[in-house]
Symmetry: C2
Subunit: 608 residues, 2 copies
């Protein structure tokens, strides 16, 4: 039953050599990998205005030079990541690039930041998208958390089905969103050109503003750069592209950068020209849409696609997290299970863990995760800085043809990213300090896991210098609860093993029962020695363990191995297990984990 539910939800299992079919072409890849970056346009411009409004509406014209700064940063990032794609065609990403060029520690800082960041991507995007929906349908507002969780479950299921299939579903909303915003910007610009919009709504560029300073401008710039979260997704996911993967990925990256730049500058410019101030309940994009189209079909189309793309932005996390996890797991910094492909060839453990962790973030925050945006942004800019510094080191070290130009591109990117990171810490410390707690915790975890794997590897390695102790013979203990067929079965098996000695062990809670059992035993199995133990504290394991210790001590003197053969009857139906005391399971677990004893389970299947 659970297996057929699984089949229904995620489809039939795929063979390993069906992997190729799941690769992405450029159009689908653009949709699946850029929803995070493009959806940032929905909140990025607003973040700039939110800082400027603290000085006054007259300062809004500064959004134009700040936007230019963000575009420069965007260009540097896109060019830099383009270089990374060709340098690391198997999927670079900040972790690999930082690790290879700067060393293991910076690599882990980048990897750890991103790992947490993808969880934040999912939680923040889904919550924001849910808010957009429940703003449109206020009746649903009380169920915000439930809706967000349902969306996470839905996206997780889609991703477990496999990348291509989810891409087909995801492509339409992303392109509809791009179409909607292009229509909005186009019509808006046309109306400005036609003179429909009063120029009195905004202060002219260059108006002097009291109270403005470098700190405030840098803060606004940092805030605006939260629109750039998500641009690294493509460089992480190169193996998902159709061949030639690197060149396809690079083209997709450029297309995404161009789209992002156009949408971002369009929104910033319209907001400036319309003189829009950020408001508590209505987003900036919503205000622009309302002023351009009125509250008609186009308004709801724009709001609807915005909500949709925010929820789908979560999907970027689902593409990137499992791949990053594979890289970290291959280097033995996180559990090995992340490297296993599921039935549909996706890294299902990574997908599932990401879904669970983001639900675990949504629940305590009751779906109000928006104030995690600065934390989320800083978690992106730390790896941005590291990977571009890594590229700088690479160019200086390898000096390929034209390396000076490449170095300049990455240096610009590194400097700006680093500045943005520092800006976040200086101007929004209250919201980003947690990164200083969780990063060390994660790094320590990486360290401990790696240490464990190394220790295991050493202990499992075959060394000719330490040959195993030979086993000269076997002593077999059979715990028996009564005179039944299950016991008979196990005894027959024990005898068939040609052991040096077979000993039956009976534990009873009352002395009288003990003697009676011994007599019955002598009649039934006169040739098998019975050790009868009385347990005043009604524990089976305690006296059994004591006996095993004694037997083992004696056996080890002559290199004999002790085996405990446990009779276990298996009921026909699962619920029957509740009806039987699971002593066999307890004994087995105790002996395997607490004592060094070989445990054999002889099943006896009940027929009804």
């Amino acid at each position: 039953m659970p297996s057929s539910i699984k089949r229904f939800l995620i489809g039939r299992p795929l063979k390993s050599n069906e992997l190729g079919e799941q690769k992405l072409n450029k159009t689908k890849a653009l949709a699946i990998l850029s929803s995070d970056a493009l959806s940032s346009v929905a909140y990025g411009p607003e973040q700039i205005l939110l800082v400027l409004v603290t000085v006054g509406a007259a300062a809004f014209w500064y959004s134009l030079p700040i936007a230019i700064g963000v575009l420069v940063l965007l260009t540097a990032l896109i060019l830099s990541y383009r270089q990374i794609i060709f340098a690391y065609p198997h999927g670079g990403g900040a972790y690999v690039v930082s690790k290879e060029n700067l060393g293991i520690f910076p690599g882990l800082v980048a990897g750890g930041s991103l790992l947490v960041d993808y969880i934040l991507t999912v939680a923040v995007s889904v919550s924001a998208g849910t808010d957009a929906i429940t703003s449109a349908f206020p009746g649903l507002h009380a169920h915000n958390v439930a809706i967000a969780v349902i969306f996470v479950v839905l996206i997780t299921t889609l991703n477990l089905r496999g990348v291509t299939e989810s891409a087909s579903i995801l492509a339409y909303p992303v392109y509809l969103f791009v179409l909607a915003l292009f229509l909005l910007i186009g019509v808006g610009l046309y109306r400005i050109a036609a003179g429909d919009v009063s120029p009195a709504l905004h202060t002219p560029v260059g108006t002097p503003v009291a109270g403005i300073g470098l700190f405030l401008l840098l803060r606004a710039f940092a805030s605006g750069s939260s629109a750039l979260t998500g641009v690294e997704a493509i460089s992480n996911a190169i193996p998902n592209f159709k061949e030639p993967a690197p060149s396809n990925a690079a083209k997709t990256l450029i297309a995404m950068g161009a789209l992002l730049a156009l949408l971002f500058s369009g929104i910033v410019y319209l907001a400036y020209y319309y003189g829009i101030a950020p408001r508590e309940e209505v987003t900036v994009v919503s205000q622009i849409a309302e002023q351009t189209f009125g509250r008609g079909f186009m308004y709801f189309f724009i709001q609807g696609t915005t909500a949709l793309i925010l929820i789908l932005a979560a999907n970027t996390g689902y593409s990137a997290f499992p791949l990053l996890a594979v890289n970290l797991a291959k280097d033995k910094f996180i559990p090995r299970m992340f490297t296993i492909r599921g039935d549909r060839l996706g890294y299902s453990n990574g997908i599932l863990i990401l879904g669970l962790l983001s639900i675990a973030l949504i629940l305590p925050f009751k779906g109000r995760t928006e104030h995690l945006i600065p934390l989320y942004a800083v978690g992106v800019f730390i790896p941005f800085t590291l990977s571009q510094t890594g590229m700088m080191v690479k160019w200086i070290r390898e000096k390929p043809e034209g390396w000076i130009a490449k170095l300049i591109v990455n240096t610009a990117g590194a400097v700006i990213s680093f500045t943005v990171t520092i800006m976040f810490f200086l101007t929004k410390f209250g919201q980003v300090w947690t990164v200083l707690v969780f990063l060390p915790v994660i790094l320590y975890m990486f360290h401990r896991i790696r240490k464990h794997y190394r220790a295991v590897g050493e202990q499992l390695r075959l060394t000719p210098s330490e040959p195993a102790v030979p086993i000269e013979g076997n002593v077999i203990l059979v715990p028996v609860a009564g005179l039944t067929r299950v016991v008979e079965n196990s005894l027959n098996y024990a005898k068939s093993l040609g052991a040096y000695q077979v000993i039956a062990v009976h534990v009873s809670f009352e002395r009288e029962e003990n003697e009676q059992f011994e007599q019955e035993w002598k009649r039934w199995q006169p040739d098998v020695r019975l050790v009868s133990l009385y347990s005043p504290y009604r524990s089976i394991i305690q006296p059994l363990t004591k006996l095993i210790d004694t037997v083992q001590h004696k056996a080890s003197e002559s290199n004999y191995q002790v085996t405990v053969v446990i009779p276990q009857f298996i009921p026909k139906k699962g619920w029957h297990n509740v009806l039987h005391n699971q002593s066999s399971l307890l004994i087995r677990a105790h002996l395997l984990y607490r004592r060094n004893v070989i445990v054999t389970t002889v099943p006896y299947h009940l027929k009804k």
Copy 2:
């Protein structure tokens, strides 16, 4: 660690022969077993007035004849249960009495009702007590559910510690409650006698009332008889008494009946004389206390002990439920685990299950379980009726000396109990219909469990007519994941068993890896045959199972037994398990439960 927490909470384990120390003397038994019955006084009289008030305050004088009816019923029940105690000195209770005299089905109806009823006892009493507390401290009202759950956990822990120790703690509040009510009734009667209370507050007995009818009076009588819930507790718990148990239990029962009768009639009379009408927020007892003493120390003393005894009433459930469960489990109607004594010699599984189930009732009802009272009462009167009918049959069948008198007592009890039960169904169907659903479900469950145990018993019995098939030899399969010490260890063990053949099995997910592994194997273990399997769907269990089926088929032809020896390394610390794919566990569970294969686990303990 968990073990030391357990020690702290419930104390050191006790030996089986320390059981005698835990027996109850009469004073303690009265406290521990009568809190349920006595606490009913806190709501019983109110239930009568709540029905009468629907006609008008003039009808309140009817509470006196109705109370006399309840007292007659109480007398019949006490006398009847006294007879049951002597007839069934090993703990009678409705289940045993009904089963032995009326047959298995009526017995199970009684047992099933009581089983559910004890859960209701705990949930209802604790909720009511919590309400009393949060009424006194309104600031706590928002935490009603949490407080109720904490009380259940507390009482469960006390009961896990053992009966005597919890009795010492429980004795004081019960006696304080009795003292408080006696003071209240005494002072109240004195004030009436002294002429302090105006006789104009109540209508005289015999005042004609419009709209009163037999149906209404019967309904009021049924409601009032909810004050009698809990009187059966003593007859269930005879084995808990010190010797001579039956006579001690009978004396305790009479004492409890006398106390209950005095408190009940006192409260009813005062309520009538003071002309008290039931109100939404203030209980009848609280109104009497306020009119008698004013809102001073005595008022809070009475309210406080009332709250306490309501919570402790839950304890009656904890004394009765596990014993009833033992009786049902010995007859194989519920899982065997209920017959096992825990570390402190209490039937800990019954205690734990009762605690969990009552929390499961408190949570969905958000602590407002008061409207379950009619359901609770009907669940008591069904077994009352059955056990007294059972006693009637017993007297008629056995005809001991003086049986006519005994028969009359039980017949009176049976008729009144049956009438009350019918009254509940006629007058409060909306609140008690669920009993018609859950009783059949429970009876079906009893039937299925008994059927399973019988089937198991038959299958396990040794029958000389069907001798076991002898085992001629062994074939051993060893699944191997790599060339490691763990595998070496397991192979050495497999070879030591003198098997006919040892076969290593390797499953790989890629064809190339397969060939490479075969070559390495030949160099390392040239004398052990290796079967190398390719698994396109990345499942280990699937190809392994297929191979085992083939081997088993061949082996069974010559009576050879197939054993799978699974190498398993055991990490040093629990959290390390997360870092390793638990393939061994999965394979073992699959082979044991789905296939009839003997599974041997060879542990390899890591040292760091």
